[in-house]
């Protein structure tokens, strides 16, 4: 079965990203397909590569990057939400005249159309938030 995942909250403040990650991992291990993981609202904060959590804590961002690498996941940050919160990829940083970019490995920035498509193309859209 094809699942799409929507995450509306950032890491550490809410459990949403943890639950979404563990659900996604369990679905993949069962042989299901994850069509896309869409990060919306504060959820875009799951996509910064500049976080440095304590070593004895889970690394929420790295965990997504690694899962993406292992299963070739499509991790998409909403562009409007990302720009408001300072999440930029190399192209956007250049276009906006910023001196740095911070998007983590495996993530890409795209539009809300990607969420609509994720809802249409998948059999189930799972929403995790506060």
């Amino acid at each position: 079965m094809k699942f799409s995942i929507q995450i509306n909250e950032g890491p550490y403040q809410h459990q949403a990203s943890d639950t979404a990650y563990l659900f996604t991992k369990a679905a993949l291990e069962k042989g299901h397909e994850i069509f896309r993981v869409f990060f919306y609202h504060d959820g875009v904060n799951n996509g910064t590569r500049l976080t440095v959590p304590p070593q004895d804590d889970r690394n929420v961002i790295k965990r997504w990057s690694e899962l993406s690498k292992q299963y070739n996941l499509d991790l998409v940050l909403c562009i409007a939400a990302a720009q408001r919160r300072g999440l930029l990829d190399e192209n956007e940083a250049k276009r906006q005249g910023k001196d740095a970019h911070n998007i983590a490995e495996g993530f890409r920035i795209s539009g809300l159309g990607q969420l609509i498509e994720a809802g249409i193309k998948a059999d189930r859209l799972m929403v995790f938030g506060d």
């Binding site: 369990a26 299901h32 938030g129 506060d130």
Partner: protein
């Protein structure tokens, strides 16, 4: 049928009671995150949960119970424990998933 997921404690917000009020017979309700507090026997909302068990299947995510130190013996009888693999199965077996955020 619909799988409803509830992630709020019933002592913080009205999501669980509201969800149980809307859930149709034969549908499933899964308590996750702080929602697992709704599965404890003898609480203010336990009667509502108990009455719903006659028509609705109610599940609770065991890792979230464990994370909050809630022993299985404290749960309302009839509430079923599942893990993340069981969560995936529930989502697949129902035609729609509604998150009560």
């Amino acid at each position: 049928m619909i799988l409803h997921t509830v992630n709020k404690s019933p002592f913080e917000r009205n999501a669980l009671v509201s969800c149980l009020g809307h859930a149709q017979a034969g549908s499933s309700v899964l308590m996750i995150e702080d929602g697992v507090y709704g599965a404890i026997a003898g609480s203010q909302v336990a009667d509502v949960v108990n009455n719903s068990l006659a028509t609705v299947k109610i599940y609770v995510l065991e890792p979230d119970l464990a994370a909050r130190g809630i022993a299985k013996e404290k749960l309302i009888s009839g509430v079923q424990l599942i893990d993340y693999a069981g969560f995936v199965d529930l989502a697949a077996d129902n035609t729609t998933v509604q998150a009560w955020l």
